[in-house]
């Protein structure tokens, strides 16, 4: 049955409605009694009654703070990190992330075979793999799920991850109407064969990402868009859903049907949703929360102090902040001006005084070490060359330079202070006047997509541990480009890298492409690579390790009993 309300909600709802009635009845009653005797006790009884009506919730074995309420937990539709964490507690892919380093390890598939050209994968599903409702998870359900993900009507934002599978791109783009043409087939109940367009070195990691999770076909066919609210919800991961109250918590119970259930030691876990960092920190300090799994809900201004504590864990994270230039209008039409601005920025001033968490200053787009790759150094801080370039572009000492605006999204002290810092560095080194233009998030996104800006703050978090996840944003036809920059040379280099079977040679081609991107053409210039942070007392919580993917799988997470 579809959840109309989970059990606890029903309880709260009854209480609440009664509260409202009782409240008015109480008001009348209290007035009468007041006129007769005195009101205080009676009015307080309203509150007392309500309090008595609430029964406390028993503490779960493990309580996690997950950040904002997920927008959806449908693995194929979701995009947010908080959403993804819930989905990965409930569902699993053919592979799953190794909790120590974020690489792929066997999941629903016990093993696989890869053809010598790297283009064909054979996945062997575990015969014992079952949904929490008891039905077997079979190969045709995996293929059916993937076809659902690539069908444009599903509108999965991450469908682009299927571009590496044969015909994936054509189906997602609507050029091919028949999703069954996707290069994935069920050979028998337990074997899936996948044909790739190109050798994809990170394909096994992709198999662990949410959009590739098989979904329960029968539930989806029965309930359509609302299948995720089905009760009971068929789950394939280490946990199953017990209750879900919006902006409060997901309560999960160990899934006994999970193939690796023996490893899962916490019987019940609570995953809290909330977006106030101070509250999350209070809950953690008070011992009501065992783990804060998202940097965004750790108070930013306390970051450096907290990072020094033994229960806060800092790590290099697969994300990058950068500046996009609008290459379609003056003055950033001219690559020399873009390069001049990139070289006038002393990025270490931003990381040392503003972000303060040990972020690595970087003028590239890909964080160093992504998939074993070293990005080009980019245009490092060199005010003299910057001034010369600006002079060559026709603005000696910044004379005649039009008034420009630096656009950023509001909501973080860091973005605002970075804007001020950029403003002062450009005035100091180039004699350029910059106005700051803070915009609310959705307006910021709209203006960026419409190329209605001069230069603008940007950032990207990698979907998998490979430079391609950063670099393909700037392909000529990418919806994530948002700079107006189109260069066929760049597109061809990325194509060549994708087709390259030799991994070392492939990284070299990618490096060549990134050099074109951040040294030569510079539609974008990096600021710094992100740092991740999570909070967990190592004496209380085990089975969790920092890794650059920021993946902390639930199967290994456990509460250490004193």
């Amino acid at each position: 049955m579809i959840h109309s309300l989970v059990q606890q909600n029903a309880l709260v709802r009854k209480t609440g409605v009664f509260c409202c009635l009782h409240c008015w009845a109480g008001l009348f009653e209290s007035l009468r009694r007041w006129l007769a005797v005195r009101a205080l006790g009676v009015v307080l009884s309203v509150g007392a009654w309500v309090l008595a009506g609430c029964s406390p919730l028993e503490r779960a074995d493990l309580v996690l703070h997950n950040g904002p309420e997920p927008e959806t937990i449908d693995p194929q539709i979701l995009t947010g990190q908080a959403d993804g964490r819930i989905a990965s507690a409930l569902f699993e892919g053919l592979t799953r992330f190794n909790p120590t380093n974020g690489t792929a390890m066997p999941g629903l598939a016990s093993h696989w075979e890869i053809s010598s050209d790297g283009l064909t994968y054979l996945f062997f599903l575990r015969p014992e793999a079952r949904w929490s409702t008891g039905e077997p998870i079979e190969a045709n359900e995996v293929v059916w799920s993937w076809r659902r993900a690539v069908t444009p009507a599903t509108a999965a934002d991450y469908a682009s991850q299927f571009f590496c599978i044969r015909k994936g791109r054509a189906i997602v783009n609507g050029e091919l109407r028949d999703a069954s043409q996707l290069g994935a087939e069920a050979l028998d109940a337990h074997t899936v064969r996948v044909h790739l367009e190109n050798p994809t070195p990170y394909f096994l990691e992709l198999m662990a990402s949410r959009v590739f999770f098989p979904v329960p076909r029968r539930a989806v066919e029965r309930w359509g868009d609302h299948w995720i609210r089905a009760e009971p919800l068929p789950c394939s991961g280490p946990y199953q859903l017990l209750s879900w109250r919006v902006n409060d918590r997901f309560r999960l119970r160990r899934n006994p049907q999970y193939w690796d259930a023996a490893q899962v030691t916490a019987e019940r876990i609570d995953i809290l949703s909330g977006d106030n960092p101070s509250t999350a920190l209070n809950l953690f300090l008070n011992g009501e929360v065992d783990l804060i799994s998202d940097r965004k809900i750790i108070p930013g201004e306390l970051g450096p102090e907290l990072a020094a504590r033994p229960d806060f864990h800092r790590f290099d994270y697969l994300g990058q902040d950068f500046i996009r230039f609008n290459t379609t209008r003056k003055p950033f039409q001219d690559a020399r001006v873009r390069r001049a601005v990139a070289m006038a920025l002393d990025r270490s001033r931003i990381t040392a005084h503003i972000t303060r968490m040990g972020e690595r200053p970087s003028a590239a787009v890909t964080p160093a070490g992504t998939g074993g790759y070293q990005p080009p150094a980019g245009l490092s801080y060199d005010p003299a060359t910057a001034r010369r370039l600006l002079g060559e572009a026709g603005y000696p000492e910044g004379r005649g330079f039009p008034a420009i605006e630096y656009t950023f999204n509001v909501g973080s002290r860091i973005y605002e202070q970075t804007g001020v810092e950029i403003q002062s560095m450009l005035r100091e080194h180039l004699g350029i006047r910059v106005e700051l233009r803070p915009l609310e998030w959705k307006t910021y996104l709209t203006e960026m997509s419409a190329l209605n800006y001069d230069f603008i703050r940007g950032s990207w978090v990698g979907d998998y541990d490979d430079p391609m996840t950063f670099l393909d944003c700037f392909l000529s036809d990418s919806g994530n480009n948002r700079t107006g920059w189109k260069d066929l040379r760049y597109d061809r280099l990325l194509q060549a890298a994708a087709a390259e079977a030799d991994p070392q040679r492939r990284l070299e081609i990618l490096r060549e492409a990134e050099t074109l991107l951040v040294v030569e053409a510079v539609p974008v210039t990096g600021l710094y690579s992100h740092v991740g942070l999570y909070a967990a007392d190592p004496r209380k919580v085990g089975g969790i390790w920092p890794n650059r993917m920021d993946e902390h799988p639930f199967f290994s997470m456990r509460r250490i009993r004193p």
């Binding site: 609440g16 309420e69 934002d157 997602v172 783009n173 919006v246 909330g274 509250t279 990418s478």
Partner: protein, 304 residues
């Protein structure tokens, strides 16, 4: 027709006006619910999404469809929380805000009225100054200061109450106080002023001249009239309390409606935003009407 019946009949008209105005205003704001940092996988997928929510239709047609659904009681799917409908989200969060609001109302009335009355009766004495001081602090210290302060002292230092979350009576204490104290202070001020005025009026002197005991004078002849300004304030106050304060719910991570007031706009969750506007309009209208009716009942001058 009685005037209150006319007001009741006016509520649907008012709601229609509010719905229409907010529908078109919201659509005029730049950005949409599915505008994200990550571009859609393809134009085809984007078009499919628009078709699903009928955004490929002209705006007036969408308006017509929305209004039709609202009349049938369906506020539509939430555009941000895609696994939920607006009805479902309101169904989950409204009771929580109502509980919190009712308890805070108890604090506001239960503390405010005696405090105000005491101050008026002991006018110029220590009780008056103490009450004035307390109400001043109550009105001046903003909720976002009081909340964390209470958490710090009673949650983190003393460990008497949980620092946040919702589920047991212990959870409710700090947020109820945070939300209730401010309103208690305002109620106390209204009460004090109302009472001082009534204490001077001729009918109270007559009552005393009749030889009634002071208690009887106050309970029977002063209180009902002194309560008038308080009651006229309870309507909007209750609406404020019942819909929860964004700040209190945020500070204590309470799963009420408060968060949606602000966030549904920032995420351009049109349907949720409309749902909140309509819900708040209904609540405000009904509560205002009820406080008027209550006034008529308490104060005979209004009836005549």
């Amino acid at each position: 027709m009685r005037p209150w019946m006319a007001r009741l009949a006016l509520i649907p008209v008012l709601l229609w006006m509010v719905a229409t105005l907010s529908f078109f205003l919201l659509r005029a704001v730049p950005g949409g619910p599915f505008h994200r940092e990550r571009a859609p996988a393809s134009r085809e997928a984007e078009a499919a999404l628009k078709a699903r929510y009928h955004w490929d239709e002209p705006l007036w047609r969408q308006y017509e469809r929305y209004l039709g659904n609202v009349i049938r009681g369906d506020l539509g799917p939430s555009l941000k929380y895609r696994d939920h409908s607006v009805n479902d989200l309101l169904g989950q969060t409204v009771p929580v805000s109502l509980s919190l609001g009712a308890m805070a109302f108890g604090v506001a009335i239960g503390l405010g009225i005696p405090l105000g009355a005491l101050a008026a009766l002991k006018r110029g004495g220590w009780a008056d100054y103490a009450a004035a001081g307390l109400t001043l602090v109550g009105v001046c210290v903003p909720v976002f200061v009081l909340g964390p302060l209470l958490v710090l002292v009673f949650g983190l230092w003393l460990g008497w109450f949980p620092v946040a979350l919702w589920g047991s009576w212990q959870n409710a204490v700090l947020p109820t106080l945070t939300l209730g104290l401010y309103f208690a202070a305002r109620v106390a001020r209204w009460m004090r002023e109302g009472m001082i005025e009534v204490l001077r009026s001729p009918h109270v002197q007559t009552a005393r001249a009749k030889g009634l005991s002071e208690t009887a004078v106050i309970l029977r002849h002063v209180m009902p009239v002194a309560l008038v300004p308080v009651i006229s304030y309870t309507g909007p106050m209750l609406a404020d309390l019942l819909t929860g304060s964004f700040v209190v719910e945020n500070v204590f991570q309470i799963p009420g409606t408060g968060a949606f007031f602000i966030n549904s706009f920032f995420s351009r969750d049109y349907t949720m935003m409309m749902g909140m506007v309509l819900f708040y309009s209904v609540l405000l209208q009904v509560l205002n009407l009820m406080s008027d009716l209550l006034l008529r009942w308490v104060d005979p001058r209004i009836r005549s």
